[in-house]
């Protein structure tokens, strides 16, 4: 918690320097500090399409540079960036009229014969694809990127209640889809 606060203070100081002194190096520091997680967020949203995710990440940081005077510090800088990145992602999806084919059923039927951690990761990825795009986005931001429900609501431009219900419903679906893994996990913990 203290780490988050000190990180947030550093970000705010860098934003102030970038704005008041028109210091591009301060903005460069901000890019360095946050590019890793923004690109990871976009890659996950785009199901691993690294090239497209990096294009969107670049667009995100260029937009952040343009909109920097609008950053008032009400949210953390990282949360503000996630919000811009998610908007870029939605815009890109709209432009492409991209509807990802739902391959979860077929994929589940053709489970490769790998075991352990790799298989679990693959199963989780497949199960995540079985969720609606909103549920995926909510679980990504809340359970994986570590945002609070409030922050996720801000990033995804959703009401807080909707975020909570998507998180609950998403986890329920995952519980069903990953029932086999849960059984073995519970047995593992029990023994």
């Amino acid at each position: 918690m203290a780490d988050r606060q000190s990180e947030s203070r550093i970000d705010k100081a860098l934003v102030a320097r970038a704005l008041l002194a028109d210091d591009a190096r301060a903005f460069e520091q901000l890019v360095r500090r946050h590019q890793g997680m923004v690109r990871a967020q976009l890659r996950r949203l785009l199901h691993g399409d690294a090239a497209r995710a990096d294009d969107l990440a670049q667009e995100t940081f260029l937009l952040a540079w343009r909109k920097l005077p609008q950053f008032r510090g009400e949210a953390r800088f990282s949360t503000w960036l996630y919000r811009i990145a998610y908007s870029c992602f939605l815009q890109s999806m709209r432009n492409r009229q991209h509807a990802a084919p739902d391959t979860s059923d077929n994929a589940a039927a053709t489970q490769p014969s790998v075991s352990g951690e790799v298989a679990l990761r693959l199963d989780l990825e497949r199960a995540m694809r079985g969720l609606s795009s909103d549920e995926q986005a909510v679980l990504l931001h809340v359970a994986q990127l570590g945002l609070s429900h409030d922050e996720a609501a801000y990033v995804l431009s959703m009401p807080l209640g909707t975020v909570k219900s998507h998180a609950r419903r998403g986890k329920d679906k995952l519980r069903t889809l990953l029932a086999d893994w849960q059984d073995s996990s519970m047995e593992g913990h029990g023994s």
């Binding site: 102030a16 591009a24 903005f27 460069e28 990440a57 540079w65 994986q144 995952l174 990953l178």
Partner: protein, 109 residues
């Protein structure tokens, strides 16, 4: 039991959270594309200050109490008009100070 399963799902999601992506030249690429920031135009502020000063001058010039207060102030008399003038000057100064402090705070954030 439900809590246990919920915790297991949370743990599983956390364990498979995306890792930060290595820079690999991304930052330099972004900084090469960042356009120079256009300096903010100063003329609207200058015109606003000038228009405000002129409006104030014309308004105060036609108000007898302001002229009387000003003359009494210069001659060192603390009349009601002088006190009114001092009070309004102090009030406006405080408002300007509050505005400047708020702007400075916003810029610092």
């Amino acid at each position: 039991m439900n809590d246990e399963i919920g915790d297991a799902i949370d743990r599983m999601l956390r364990d498979h959270a995306p890792d930060p992506v290595a820079d690999e030249g991304f930052c330099s690429h972004v900084m090469n594309s960042v356009p120079p920031r256009r300096p903010r135009a100063q003329w609207p502020l200058a015109i606003g200050v000038l228009a405000g000063t002129l409006a104030c001058w014309f308004t105060m010039g036609s108000a007898q109490v302001a002229m009387t207060g000003w003359q009494d102030w210069l001659s060192g008399d603390l009349t009601a008009a002088t006190l009114a003038l001092i009070a309004s000057t102090a009030g406006l100064s405080l408002l300007a100070l509050a505005w400047a402090l708020t702007e400075a705070q916003d810029q610092a954030v």
